[in-house]
Amino acid sequence: MLAMQLAALAEDPPGAAEALELVTAFDEALANGLGRLDERGTQAIIGLAGAVAATPLGDRAGEAAEKVAAGSVAGEHLTALAGARAALLGAVHDALLTHLDDSLGRTRAPWPPAPAEGSAAGAGPTAQAAAGPGSTAQTAAAVGGAGAAMGNLLVGCRSWLHELAITGWRGVGHDLASAADQAIEAVLAEPGLRRLAVLTDGLAGELRASSPVAAMEKVPVRRWADLWTRAVLLSEPDWLGTPEPAELVSGRLLILGVDVHEHATVVQAQVHAVLESAGGEARVVRAAVSAGKVDTIVGPAIWSLLEGYPVLTGALAGGRSVEITDMPLLGGGDLVWQEDRAAPQGAADPFATARVMLAGALAPATPPLDRHPARIAEPVFLEGYTTAKTGDRISLDGHDLAVAVDRLPSSGPLTPKLMATSTACVGLLRWDAGRWLLQPLAIQATVKKQPVEEHTGAWAQGPTDPKVVRSLARAGDAVTVLRERAGRLLRR
């Protein structure tokens, strides 16, 4: 990224602030509960519905706002309002991403249009077909009886989400926070519903830890409204019927870095990379692997949960490229990772990849229903900047960019201190709470006059820092201890 691009990026896209103001008003109403709206809350939901009036959602959102304002809150109304909120944030996402592409001169693939009615079966592989038998793609089982069984599982989650909306975050106590435990357990057992399961489990965990919410000084209104909205949409049976288009791809995968996600009961390592096909065409892709965990598995220990993917973790730890053959690539730029279609290759420097290939690589479109500013994670390369002492800000020719140092995972060697000494960085551009941020994935720095390079995925096959190895050894292997307990106690 150049200083000039950074300067262009800093300007807000028109309309985004106004749209977010409507969202914030709705989020405040949701925090107080849609079951008993005051004047301001009523205005907020009418404002939200008004913003989508000219869209296909208009009629349903308008009717929902009217009914909810009159005090009659039914599930379908809440779904319509969640849809309106998602549409508004989707528009903000689109404005931000277009602005990013314009500022950086990035080319993005268009979203594949939906196949024409009736030709769906013959229109090439979908996520469903591409992911193969036993797939865990959300979309994989939206057929026949399986779909109906899953529909029943959704009911429990949905009624909890409705109760939360009616009560409002500020009315949530221990009982309501835990009321969905059984429903979530049932959804977790169904691989096709994993997205909904990890989302509702994460939300429930936060509400449990925050109960009674009335005692909280401040409520994370945007965050919980985001999670609620997505959960409401994911628990709609119709969501299952929209498989993401997919194609089979081959080529050399050049890794840029890994973004680690986790809450108490799940971990996901999402690799960002450039895929170079035989014809020399390059595009930006991602590959994610995830596993269930518990809250006591923290830091570098999380990698042992992903040991079933040695090619991917080996490439991260060893700084190698990977040759992939006929791997499914979803329309949103996500490879559905399959170890047996991946072969480790020689060393590949992420800085060289970022420097040489990133600017010309085709960026993927975001699937329409996933569009939200929090989903923006655009790989970038920066060098020649100065850093704040705390590492939380960089400056390029007088143009500042905040660094998301709180997104540096304890599972890797990259720290705010290292960031503060860095001279070059491969990272993800993020957008949150009204500003752009840089999330570092890899840095080059000078420590004690020696050049060093660190990556968030450097410990993907175990820590390499002797201090961390010793402290892990002292604590004992959490995963092994718990698996032993599980083996002894779980099947009795």
Partner: protein, 167 residues
């Protein structure tokens, strides 16, 4: 009208639950602050097949320790047994003493006198409590490790960034 919301309140990726500290799990594999109690599962020192369910109630500090089949722990002789002491020690490592003290409603949870806070938590009376609920929560906890790993993307996890690098 919304200008009074802080950046924290307008953030989508705000951290709500503080991260846990790593700890040795062999002796006390499970600790949680839930259902109005500090509760957990303590491995028996003598029998690898046996575990104890120990709990301390918020507010009253009423304690209990029994096997998962509800047989009272032999160590409860008018005082908290060693399992309960281990439970408190490990909870303090995992959550930090302030968070445990706050949950148990110990007066002055910000006090720097950790010994005093710890003594307060253990000065209640024995009161039978059902072990089965806690034990089944522990089994549910362990079941997460049995979930098959997946490679379908989970875009919702963009809301749950890993954090905590402070070394």
């Amino acid at each position: 009208m919304t200008a009074d919301l802080t950046a924290w309140e307008q953030s989508s990726v705000t951290r709500v639950v503080p991260p846990l500290e790593p700890r040795k799990l062999a002796k006390v594999p499970f600790v949680e602050l839930a259902d109005g109690r500090l509760q957990g599962v303590v491995s028996s020192g003598s029998d690898i097949e046996r575990v104890y369910v120990s709990s301390i109630a918020a507010g009253t500090y009423a304690y209990n320790c029994s096997t998962n089949n509800n047989r009272q722990c032999g160590g409860l002789t008018g005082y908290p047994c060693k399992h309960l002491r281990s439970l408190v020690d490990e909870a303090v490592v995992q959550y930090g003493i302030e968070r445990v003290a706050r949950y148990l409603r110990v007066p002055d949870p910000d006090s720097t006198d950790a010994g005093e806070l710890r003594r307060s938590m253990l000065e209640g009376q024995h009161e039978p409590a059902p072990a089965a609920v806690v034990f089944s929560r522990f089994l549910r906890h362990l079941a997460y490790l049995e979930l098959p790993a997946t490679t379908a993307p989970l875009p919702e996890l963009h809301w749950f960034p890993a954090s905590g690098a402070v070394r």
